[in-house]
Symmetry: C2
Subunit: 409 residues, 2 copies
């Protein structure tokens, strides 16, 4: 089977047909970096969202969920950075609703076709006069090549912008899928949260889009951890304009012959963004990938992979380039999932350190050399079933402590 | 109600009647610090144990469990530090059994009255010739004031020894309860594990002792976290000689009029040792105590308290003396327990930072001053039920990263 899709170099959220994007500085960030952005579609787009499991959900999530609940479509997503509008009570809710109505007026779209999201400090009221002025200025900034402006507007402590785009053939027509994301700590209330925005010009129903987004999120965004914390504002939203081939293409359903290719492309975008967030984790010097195979089930594999990637001791050892497999097996053993204690293999890259639960003599120097790189692959094979999963994270460094010990001011 | 028990200054595991202890250097640690120790009782003592939930349990745990399973009594506990005898396969099991039989021979007690435990490097075979020689030398080192020798023998990366003793009146007679513990990271396979050893001269059945130990462990040792990792070797063991008042005192049962006092004293010893471990956490500069009240149940309170104390972001903020309550409420919200999102109070010491889920203006300077101390109390009141719990931990520091990034060699 050849490549099912193609990466579009330089592509972004405005590459799929029908989308424009914008970014500007309205005054929420202290420096003059962009802090307000929008993605706007020519037509109401089939849309789907997934939200944080944190019980203290920020006000914007409630508003976006309400918009999506109306007819499953969005025409504009607006986002501000610098203030999370979380733990802000009734005023915060009123502010999120006002952000929605002001955006609807500015872009000339239905109120219930607008989603809003915020990221930044918790517990501070949104400075609404700045937001209002910013929203009024957004329409004239909308550009067909506005992907980067939008990406800049959603960053907080992120060091790099995160976007990607792929194309895939559906019924002989080129369909694009793109995404942008932000996130550096899973949560750091100074400047917080993981956000993902995906666009596509595929023609697909809200229900199928939601099912696909949920599945892909479980295998990508939900498989990364920087520090085990979950933000009050996490959200991933996808909008599908249906404008590929001017909209005369057949609707994409799981029965469509090109569904597998579309799904693979969609998954690629999610995984690309998720890994970009993990690699850009606060203070990180490397991306760590943990693959678990041979588990009792995929769920068990997921839980084990996340326990290993979340272990402070494993993360510290990777920072120190120490091939400390004892910490890995200890994490496997406390994940609360079935394991056979006599059949575990552990590899670091190509280096076998444990085989059938017995230590293997390996070249410590070669292992240290491998662990010093900017990508570390940990493979745990449990040899007990068909379950598998992959999780991503980063090392735990002095810099992480420095960033998170700093005063909020 | 007055004080139910009295702290015995300078008391240790040999203060309760019938116990002696010893420590010596047999060569498992590279420096000449003690690395082998024992507590021995004049008579077979009613005994109980709790063990790690990690599925990769080290060989010594299996052997100790087997001894206790025979007739619920132990007369000697031997422990080595410097090597965990974990992930060592069949040879490791054979070595643990040999440690038991050699100790039984040395002390002249029944094999099934000996418990063994190990802490140190994972995956290395125990150097048995050193252990054998060491065990043979232990009997002549046994002392009625050997508590400190024993304490030294169980330490690994610990900076301080951890022991305490209290006395309590039972039926007009003085009963002693004492304990010693080690632990610095929940696990750090270089030099690993949390171990607790308690002794008492109370007359109590194995069944009542086990029930009490399990209850107290849940509220003390199981409520601390340094880094969220769980060792393969964690164990807490208690031995009750029954020799208080020369053994003619009535047996302690939950129906005994002094049971409440005994239980409170027992709990004090467990909590003292647990807090000592948390305070001595790797790289820690302070002890953090998290109290949760007003939760739906005690179980919910426990889960929430442990999530807050385990948050890398909360720990980093405490290190940085940053009154970042947003991280605390975010941790409360992701603990997977019921909360009312509108009724949460958060206090740092006496400083109210959140009331009925609304931010309270507080003196940032005063808060920073408080957080700079070596003890930080975080109080979360959910105002929804009778559940409460307390958890202990420490801050996350540069030093933690340094210790755990270091090479094993």
């Amino acid at each position: 089977m050849g490549q099912l899709f193609t990466v579009v170099e330089g592509g972004g959220v405005t590459t799929p047909k029908g989308f424009k994007a914008a970014g500007l500085h309205c005054g929420l960030k202290k420096t003059n970096r962009y802090d307000l952005g929008a993605i706007v579609c020519e037509v109401p787009a089939a849309a789907a969202g997934v939200y944080t499991t944190n019980q203290f959900q920020a006000a914007p999530l409630k508003v976006t969920r309400e918009s999506l609940g109306r007819d499953g479509k969005l025409q504009a997503m607006v986002v501000n950075s610098g203030n999370a509008n979380a733990c802000t009570g009734k005023q915060g809710e009123a502010d999120a609703y006002e952000m929605r109505s002001a955006a609807a007026a500015a872009f000339g779209v239905e109120e219930h076709h607008v989603g809003v999201t915020s990221t930044g400090v918790i517990g501070e009221p949104l400075p609404m006069e700045k937001v209002r002025r910013g929203l009024a200025g957004l329409p004239e900034r909308l550009k067909a090549d506005g992907s980067e402006d939008f990406c800049q507007a959603i960053l907080t402590t992120d060091l790099v912008q995160k976007m990607t785009c792929v194309s895939v053939q559906v019924g002989g027509q080129t369909v694009y899928i793109a995404g942008a994301a932000k996130g550096s700590g899973m949560i750091h209330p100074n400047m917080a949260t993981m956000l993902g925005f995906m666009t596509t010009d595929a023609k697909i129903s809200t229900a199928n889009l939601q099912a696909l987004l949920s599945k892909v999120t479980d295998e990508t965004f939900n498989m990364i951890t920087v520090d085990g914390d979950t933000s009050t504002n996490d959200m991933v939203v996808v909008m599908a304009s249906g404008l590929a081939g001017n909209g005369d293409s057949a609707e994409l359903t799981p029965e469509h012959p090109d569904w597998a290719a579309f799904q693979a492309a969609f998954q690629y975008v999610g995984e690309y963004l998720a890994k970009a967030i993990a690699r850009d984790g606060e203070g990180a010097t490397k991306l760590i990938e943990v693959s678990v195979t041979g588990a009792a089930s995929d769920e068990a594999a997921r839980a084990i992979a996340k326990t290993v990637i979340g272990s402070s001791l494993v993360k510290s050892a990777c920072f120190g380039a120490d091939a400390n497999w004892g910490r890995i097996i200890a994490a496997v053993g406390r994940a609360g999932q079935p394991v056979q204690t006599e059949t575990v293999d552990i590899r670091l890259g190509d280096i076998v350190t444990l085989e059938q639960s017995r230590p293997v003599r390996f070249d410590e120097e070669k292992a240290a050399e491998y662990l010093k790189g900017d990508f570390v692959h940990i493979h745990v094979d449990l040899h007990m079933g068909p379950g598998q999963a992959t999780a991503w994270g980063c090392d735990l460094t002095y810099e992480y402590v420095r960033i998170n010990a700093a005063y909020r001011t």
